[in-house]
């Protein structure tokens, strides 16, 4: 391989520019700027004849470089080998630079983008409502034809979202219980109000913390998995394949997920709340010397049973929200990797946000129920 070079010959009044060497991607590496500078002189512009016969090899890069240096045209007098000439002619598709300009952005674009975002949000809400409607129709369909019920899928989803989430939810619940109990005990001790630890833990965990904790864990764990699964099925056209076999996608893919999560989440809430209370009980016995028997005996007396019902109802509502949001974003994945990742993120973030929103609604709606003195 020889380096690309430029030299100028003055034969009287008509100077000749001769190019030699390899004008290829490998040959030009690190020499582009130097060659551009060498060819951008008065001498080069005055050249009456260009001699390219010394060029051993030339590729698209060399051709495109020369084309631009010559001002988007071939020089009038040019000596070159057949191959070089063919390459230079293929560069002539470039034309002048302005012809290939990108579509320019205008000042209206940001306004248009805002409008697009608003419309897209409206469309998302519309799609979500349509999905809920479709699920209701599917439920009616199953009520009329029970044989079409996707029982195997429901059971598989119950296992995936419920059973396999047991260890992690128990661990997180237990640790949160320990932390909460430990921190509260420190405060209560200074007032000599040790016994109220049971009230705090009972109401806090059963009514509020248990359901929200589980919902956040499940949204991250199962919600993202649902979105990714449906998204990949869209990318690989599996959903279209199902549709052509006469299998409705909402009945077979969305409904089982929603039903399974609606069933599994209250059970997980019960399980996690128990684990958290157990953690709190252990910490209380260490920190405050409170016996397990006393803790268990006092709990039902200071925490009205309505709190448990509210917690379970929250579980059902959160499960519904998480599954609907996850499936909605899964089904709206476009067939590319970028859309898949962004939709999975959106799914988890929206699911958690919606859960908190619904939790606030619950707090307002149930403010007179199950609280001592409420």
């Amino acid at each position: 391989m020889s380096a690309p070079t430029v030299s100028f010959d003055r034969e009287g009044a008509a100077p000749v520019a001769s190019l030699c060497g390899d004008w290829t991607l490998q040959g030009l590496e690190g020499r582009v700027d130097a060659l551009r500078a060498a060819l951008d002189t008065g001498e080069a512009r005055a050249a009456a004849r260009w001699d390219l016969t010394g060029i051993a090899r030339i590729d698209s890069l060399g051709a495109c470089l020369l084309w631009r240096i010559w001002g988007d045209r071939l020089p009038p007098t040019l000596d070159a080998g057949e191959h070089t000439l063919a390459m230079l002619e293929s560069a002539s598709v470039l034309g002048t630079r302005s012809r290939l300009a990108t579509p320019q952005s205008t000042s209206f674009d940001s306004l248009a983008q805002l409008g697009r975002a608003g419309l897209s949000f409206g469309r998302q809400i519309g799609d979500l409502v349509a999905l809920i409607g479709q699920l209701l129709l599917d439920l009616l369909h199953i009520a009329r034809w029970p044989r079409d019920a996707p029982l195997r899928e429901i059971s598989a989803n119950l296992y995936k979202t419920g059973v396999s989430a047991l260890p992690i939810t128990a661990l997180v619940g237990f640790l949160i219980g320990v932390v909460l109990s430990y921190l509260s005990a420190l405060q209560l001790k200074t007032f000599g109000a040790d016994v109220f630890i049971i009230n705090i833990l009972g109401i806090g965990i059963v009514r509020e913390l248990g359901p929200v904790l589980v919902a956040v864990l499940v949204a991250g764990r199962s919600g993202s998995a649902m979105t990714a699964q449906l998204g990949v099925m869209r990318v690989t056209e599996e959903i279209d394949a199902l549709a052509t076999m006469g299998v409705p996608r909402s009945l077979r893919l969305v409904l089982p997920k929603v039903l399974a999560l609606v069933t599994a989440l209250p059970l997980l809430v019960l399980w996690t709340s128990s684990a958290a209370l157990f953690g709190g009980m252990v910490a209380a016995s260490i920190q405050l010397d409170m016996s397990y028997g006393f803790f268990l005996d006092t709990l039902p007396r200071v925490v009205p049973i309505a709190n448990l019902y509210i917690g379970l109802a929250k579980g059902v509502a959160f499960g519904l929200v998480i599954a609907l949001v996850a499936c909605h974003f899964g089904l709206s994945v476009k067939p590319n990797t970028e859309s898949l990742s962004s939709n999975t993120t959106k799914s988890v973030v929206s699911a958690i946000t919606c859960v908190i929103l619904v939790d606030a609604l619950f707090a307002i709606a149930t403010r007179h129920i199950g609280l001592p003195g409420g």
């Binding site: 698209s60 560069a91 630079r97 290939l100």
Partner: protein, 256 residues
């Protein structure tokens, strides 16, 4: 240059206990177009993936441009890979990038070309594969099957490779488009002086492009040579492979 572009010696490939290749020797000279044919599961694509360096053979050696694929020197390995272009069966375009960015990607990775030059080079490549400048802003999901192959070919050509590897270049294209694609590859090969290795099932592609044919079967290379030479090798698989095709081309015989 007398050294072969691809030199395979004593190649052995196993998947578990299943031996796919047993002591395969194959060399491809510069400027040739070699077609790998064989039945399903005979390891054509596996062989191609080993030449690209995506799979490591269990034994034996593959040299490309006289250099081993895994030299242990990351920089040398990278330089070697920049000397060949690969066209994957499904195109393997980056779905998050548009056509322009897809073709520009290998050029950007060089990190010494300026944006305007990269744009110019992409436009030249697009013209080479007979696409129009306005196609540059489309996303891969908006392209037809034939266009995906063309864009993928343009991307494979963007680093000015000396060796082009094609995995089923005409699979999934209708006969018209497949003939157009074959003639495009042939033109480019003439212009750029490429060495080409292709895996194919399609005998029309084979006849139109290949200067030599390698038939894979029974874990080895059954025959290697020019098409008319290979067609006359007396081996049941080879006879079957080409005979079924001859039958199909006779209009008076219906194939069931």
């Amino acid at each position: 240059m007398s050294a072969p572009v691809i030199d395979i010696r004593g190649l052995v490939t196993r998947f578990g206990t299943n031996v796919v290749h047993q002591d395969i020797d194959l060399s491809v000279e510069a400027g040739e177009v070699v077609a790998l044919v064989g039945g399903s599961g005979s390891g054509k694509t596996t062989l191609l993936r080993q030449v690209i360096g995506l799979l490591r053979p269990d034994a034996g050696q593959i040299r490309v441009f006289g250099q081993p694929l895994f030299s242990g020197d990351a920089l040398a390995d990278r330089r070697l890979r920049q000397r060949f272009g690969v066209l994957f069966q499904q195109g393997a375009l980056f779905s998050a990038l548009n056509v322009l960015e897809n073709i520009a990607f290998p050029l950007r990775e060089l990190r010494w070309l300026d944006r305007a030059t990269i744009r110019d080079l992409v436009m030249m490549k697009l013209a080479m594969v007979e696409l129009e400048p306005r196609h540059a802003w489309l996303m891969p999901s908006e392209l037809s099957g034939g266009m995906i192959k063309r864009v993928a070919l343009a991307r494979a050509l963007s680093l000015e490779p000396e060796l082009l590897l094609l995995d089923e270049p005409t699979a999934g294209l209708d006969p018209d488009r497949s003939a157009a694609f074959v003639s495009l590859i042939r033109t480019l090969r003439g212009q750029l002086g490429l060495t080409v290795v292709l895996v194919t099932h399609d005998i029309d592609t084979l006849a139109a492009l290949a200067t030599r044919v390698a038939v894979l079967g029974e874990r080895r290379i059954l025959a290697y040579g020019p098409l008319d030479h290979v067609m006359n090798v007396d081996h049941p698989f080879i006879q079957n492979f080409f005979a079924s095709d001859r039958l199909q081309r006779r209009p008076d015989v219906t194939v069931r």
